[in-house]
């Protein structure tokens, strides 16, 4: 049996009095695609951000690949270098792309390998051009991000994350800020990645996409996992009333 790629145990997070995550337990097998769904404020984005330490949990344990961190109240945070190394093993794609506007598209994609891994520029450029071709944007290498459409920006952001050769990809509502006609080009890239065996956690409102691409769906509400299971089971035959109520807002079969 495979060792899980991602293991989360007893994860807790609160902002002041507000408890956002209570005792989250989660394992993700290598190559699995997990969709996190739930209403806004359910903690799904916070959970995703805890996985690469953009949000530091108050308690629990996170392991991704060979790196693990224990979080206890009152314990010192891991050192910045250790945090950076941990993060370099996960690629993150943001809702608002967050491309670096002062760098070309190619520069964006090369930034991780060059600045985090100290890779020679020529080698990073080769990786960058290969990944831009993979997301269908080889011809935009020398353009600046402000010349791109939202869908193109998000595909560059995916290439930028992939350039670090992460073991895991995290998508935080990657298509929520896109015009409807641009959503499918981004979902297409994500679908290809899943088919290649990338381990992925996707926070999404694209329920039809989750049903089609994800192996497992996790429904969260108020900081807890309410229901989880194979994607089609959870979406087509939800067991919990809360899940049913949430899913009733969507056309779930695309």
């Amino acid at each position: 049996m495979n060792i899980p790629k991602i293991e989360v145990a007893g994860l807790r997070k609160q902002f002041g009095e507000l408890v956002v995550l209570r005792d989250i337990n989660l394992t993700v097998e290598p190559g699995a695609v997990v969709a996190l769904i739930g209403p806004s404020g359910s903690g799904k984005s916070t959970l995703l951000r805890c996985l690469n330490l953009l949000v530091v949990p108050n308690g629990g344990r996170v392991r991704i690949g060979g790196d693990a961190f224990d979080f206890e109240t009152g314990k010192a945070l891991p050192r910045p270098k250790a945090q950076a190394k941990f993060r370099s093993n996960t690629g993150m794609v943001f809702q608002h792309f967050n491309l670096f506007p002062h760098m070309t598209v190619l520069g964006n994609v090369m930034e991780g390998p060059v600045s985090a891994k100290n890779m020679p520029k020529a080698q990073a450029e080769a990786i960058g051009r290969r990944l831009l071709a993979k997301v269908g944007l080889a011809d935009k290498a020398d353009a600046y991000p402000d010349r791109l459409s939202g869908g193109q920006k998000q595909r560059v952001a995916i290439a930028r994350a992939l350039a670090m050769e992460p073991e895991v990809m995290l998508f935080d509502e990657a298509t929520s800020a896109l015009d409807p006609e641009l959503v499918s080009e981004v979902l297409g890239v994500m679908r290809d990645l899943a088919a290649e065996g990338m381990t992925m956690i996707i926070v999404t409102h694209e329920i039809a996409f989750a049903r089609e691409v994800a192996d497992r769906v996790i429904f969260m509400r108020d900081g807890v996992i309410v229901e989880e299971g194979p994607a089609r089971d959870v979406i087509d035959r939800p067991q919990q009333e809360a899940t049913r109520a949430f899913l009733s807002h969507f056309h779930t079969r695309g």
């Binding site: 953009l54 991780g112 600045s115 891994k117 600046y144 670090m164």
Partner: protein
């Protein structure tokens, strides 16, 4: 009606030139040193270490909230009494003006950095860059564009602030003007000339700043 007589000041042209060069040199020194202090002070404000934040806050507020003239007199007259070390007028002037300018630069630099969206820092961190590299590679290059106009403005103010050093007998433009004025009993002509020289140096500078601003808005 007063009749202006500028001709008799021709004999003092080298004095004015000399004073102008001292003023320009002094400005160059206090702008460079002030920017270094401002960079350190501004970034310390954003440090994750409370001690650094506290020290830089104390420095910035101390120098922003006391008059420059008082600071200058304090460094020239009071500090030597406290420490027993006599510093010359030029050193006291450069020190004071740099610290004073640095406190304003620090606020500009801090403001420029925090004006960059949090998403940029997050994207850099998510790639696996250390916080220091995120600052150097991602945040500062973008923030500097936004800082340049206010930094230039502050530097123009610094150019004019150097006129205060005449009170501790640094031979800058205003000081040499005072010498000429006492010599000729023609303060009206002399101070008109002095004002014109400041004006003539600064007007082209402000035009360059304006043009630079426009270029920054359009370019990458």
């Amino acid at each position: 009606m007063y009749t202006f007589n500028f001709e008799m000041l021709w004999g003092y042209r080298w004095l004015f030139l000399n004073g102008t060069l001292v003023t320009i040199g002094l400005t160059a020194a206090v702008v460079v040193l002030g920017l270094l202090l401002g960079l350190v002070g501004g970034l310390a404000q954003l440090s994750r270490f409370a001690v650094l934040r506290w020290i830089s806050w104390a420095y910035i507020e101390l120098f922003r909230c006391t008059p420059l003239l008082v600071q200058l007199l304090w460094f020239y007259y009071a500090l030597p009494m406290l420490t027993g070390i006599q510093i010359d007028a030029i050193t006291a002037s450069v020190l004071t003006l740099s610290l004073y300018g640095g406190s304003f630069y620090a606020e500009v630099i801090r403001g420029g950095v925090v004006s960059i969206e949090a998403g940029q820092t997050e994207a850099g961190l998510a790639l696996g860059l250390t916080p220091a590299k995120v600052m150097r590679r991602i945040v500062l290059p973008q923030a500097i564009k936004r800082m340049i106009p206010p930094l230039m403005n502050q530097s123009i103010i610094q150019f004019k602030n150097t006129s205060l050093v005449s009170v501790v007998a640094v031979p800058d433009l205003l000081y040499q003007g005072q010498v000429a004025a006492t010599d000729t009993f023609r303060p009206l002509e002399v101070y008109t000339i002095v004002a014109l020289i400041y004006f003539v140096v600064l007007v082209p500078l402000t035009a360059i700043v304006k043009r630079g601003e426009k270029q920054l808005q359009t370019g990458h």
